[in-house]
């Protein structure tokens, strides 16, 4: 970790959990080649709370897909939790997503036919965790987001804020090294949005690494570090004072 000392505000922070260098992603749309990501390099350390912002079309969604191991870059490397993941196949990526990443989506993305606790259990099901332990962990995760009383409610019986809390519990339940939140407050009213941000900040203070993708400056300002993306490039990377 030779570079650690070079950037003053990073001094004394944890290990690098994400290290991206020279990442490019090209899409072909008809005859045009779109450079969605253009030579991006960045690293994120453990226990950081980072906001990635930028206008729509800036490439932040593409970056989020890369960070979330939902897609692979055209070129460049991505080391996640000490493992090179940019060349992995579908199933290996699924495995990484299962163990290393907790997703929180703008649209919650809960399974409507399952109850809150069943939704939270899903990542553990794919890990092959035994039913009893799964239930215990899922219950604990829901309790930690204040939904201990609503284990058996279906998403349709919960408010937007509550649904997003279920999604947070789902992201937390397998204790992944990073939590990736894509516009988590985008579909919520102000009050619920504030609540969700409060929970995320709490999670951060408990030692979780959180990456927040948002176009809302006020939301971004609640993080510790803002990475601004435009036209597929990092145009700003600063600490929030």
């Amino acid at each position: 970790m030779a570079a650690q000392g070079n950037i003053p505000w990073m001094k004394g922070w944890g290990e690098r959990v994400i290290e991206i260098s020279n990442m490019c992603k090209k899409y072909t749309m008809g005859n045009n080649v779109v450079n969605a990501l253009n030579n991006i390099s960045l690293s994120i350390r453990q226990h950081e709370f980072v906001a990635i912002t930028g206008p729509s079309g800036s490439g932040k969604s593409t970056l989020m897909n890369m960070l979330g191991c939902l897609d692979t870059p055209t070129s460049g490397t991505y080391i996640l939790d000490g493992k090179e993941v940019s060349k992995l196949n579908d199933d290996e990526l699924a495995h990484i997503r299962n163990y290393k990443i907790g997703f929180i989506f703008q649209g919650f993305n809960l399974l409507q036919k399952l109850t809150a606790i069943e939704n939270v259990e899903l990542p553990l099901i794919y890990q092959g965790v035994h039913a009893k332990e799964r239930h215990k962990k899922a219950k604990a995760a829901l309790e930690s987001v204040g939904l201990g009383e609503r284990l058996d409610h279906k998403p349709s019986e919960l408010s937007g804020g509550q649904q997003q809390r279920v999604a947070i519990a789902r992201a937390l339940v397998s204790a992944p090294p990073i939590i990736l939140a894509d516009e988590p407050t985008g579909n919520l009213d102000t009050k619920s949005g504030v609540e969700i941000m409060k929970i995320l900040k709490e999670l951060h203070s408990k030692g979780n690494t959180i990456i927040l993708i948002t176009h809302d400056n006020n939301v971004a300002l609640q993080s510790q570090r803002i990475i601004r993306i435009q036209d597929g490039e990092v145009i700003e990377d600063r600490e929030v004072s």
Partner: protein, 392 residues
């Protein structure tokens, strides 16, 4: 992800969509039910036929004269003589003449089957009288115009009144009824009970048949059947100078021929029913494909949080298997119910259940689940999670 978990998921998803799941199963239910009912009916009618063949007696040998050679002909007395000389192996011979005739009692008329034979026919074919008497040798020798009637005829032309001693007109000639035959079939029109029996000599004149072309021979014991057939073959070959103008066969051979015929019938019926199973399978594939599209987002979410291709594949495959499995079981119940109602209720054919066919149709329905579930499951498994998540 374990199979038990996948199974639980499948049940949940099927119960979450009861109406559609049932419609999907319907193809399999009808297919499996049709296979079971068709095979049962085929085997039931086979049993009917073999039972009635077996009921004729195990010592029975039939002679049929098929050629039309007017110069050489075997006569009843020749055969009678042969039987007397070989009484250790042949116990009785009956000539038979069959024809379709019109009968009339008073002003009631009907069509029936005439059988001309002799007194020995009673023991040769196990034919017995319910009331009155059977034919006697003097009826044949002196060409007595006497007749025995079947129960179908009693109810049909005698309208249920006691026919004994009454007069029946057969093709215009008057006969006296001396006996009523025991019911061997169901006593209905067109059945084996729709018959009239008269002395063979009278029948020859009535039907203008000089030559008798059919004989029923009773071997002394079941063990002498082969020896008797051998003797008859030799004797008839000597008369006809060839072996193509006549046929000597016994019940064992008849049963064999019958079982080939009915076996084919079973397969044809089951084959037709199996087509409906395949159609059911295609129905399942359609619904599963719709379900994959409908659940694209669900698949996307599952993949995003770590489901591998295999997990999705197994989930959809097990869902198809559970649907066809439940459909198969319901189909078996449906098939058995149809057999119970049709065979058991109408009593035309016996209730027969073939365990191998029931097991096989269930296994086939499961196989259909795998085969037709594979394509939609594969399609679901290889969905791109990013696009699947964007799907509305």
């Amino acid at each position: 992800m374990g199979f038990i978990q996948a199974y639980k998921m499948a049940i949940k998803s099927i119960l979450g969509n009861k109406g559609r799941s049932f419609l999907t199963m319907l193809g399999v239910i009808i297919g499996v039910g049709a296979v079971i009912a068709a095979v049962s009916f085929a085997q039931g009618s086979t049993k009917n036929i073999t039972d009635s063949v077996q009921g004729m007696g195990t010592n029975l040998i039939q002679i049929m004269i098929t050629g039309r050679n007017s110069n050489r002909n075997v006569t009843y007395s020749q055969l009678q003589k042969l039987a007397e000389e070989n009484s250790d192996i042949i116990s009785a011979i009956s000539p038979t003449i069959s024809s379709s005739v019109k009968v009339k009692v008073g002003n009631k008329t009907g069509d029936t089957t005439l059988l001309g034979t002799n007194a020995e026919y009673e023991s040769v074919k196990n034919m017995h009288v319910q009331r009155g008497r059977f034919l006697m040798s003097f009826d044949v020798d002196y060409m007595q115009k006497v007749a025995l009637v079947g129960t179908a005829l009693v109810s049909e032309v005698f309208e249920g009144s006691d026919p004994l001693g009454k007069t029946i007109k057969i093709n215009g000639q008057e006969f006296t009824v001396v006996g009523v035959l025991e019911e061997t079939d169901n006593g209905q029109d067109q059945s084996a009970d729709d018959t009239v029996v008269i002395p063979v000599t009278v029948a020859q004149r009535l039907t203008k048949n000089a030559v008798i072309r059919s004989f029923a021979v009773q071997a002394a014991t079941p063990e002498t059947v082969d020896a008797a057939m051998e003797k008859l073959n030799t004797f008839l070959t000597a008369i006809y100078k060839d072996t193509k103008t006549f046929r000597v066969f016994n019940q064992a051979q008849m049963l064999q021929t019958l079982s080939t015929v009915t076996g084919t019938m079973t397969f044809v019926l089951a084959g037709i029913a199996a087509i409906s199973l395949i159609v059911g399978g295609i129905g399942i594939m359609n619904i599963m494909l719709v379900s994959v599209t409908e659940r694209t987002r669900e698949i996307g979410i599952r993949k995003a949080i770590g489901a591998k291709r295999k997990s999705i594949l197994v989930q959809f495959l097990i869902e198809a298997l559970v649907v066809t499995g439940i459909g198969g079981i319901m189909g078996i119940l449906f098939g058995v119910a149809v057999v119970k109602i049709v065979a058991g209720g109408l009593k035309i054919i016996p209730e027969v259940y073939s365990i191998p066919w029931i097991v096989m149709s269930f296994v086939i329905s499961l196989a259909i689940g795998v085969v037709f579930g594979m394509f939609p499951a594969y399609k679901a498994a290889k969905l791109n999670p990013i696009e699947a998540l964007r799907f509305e």
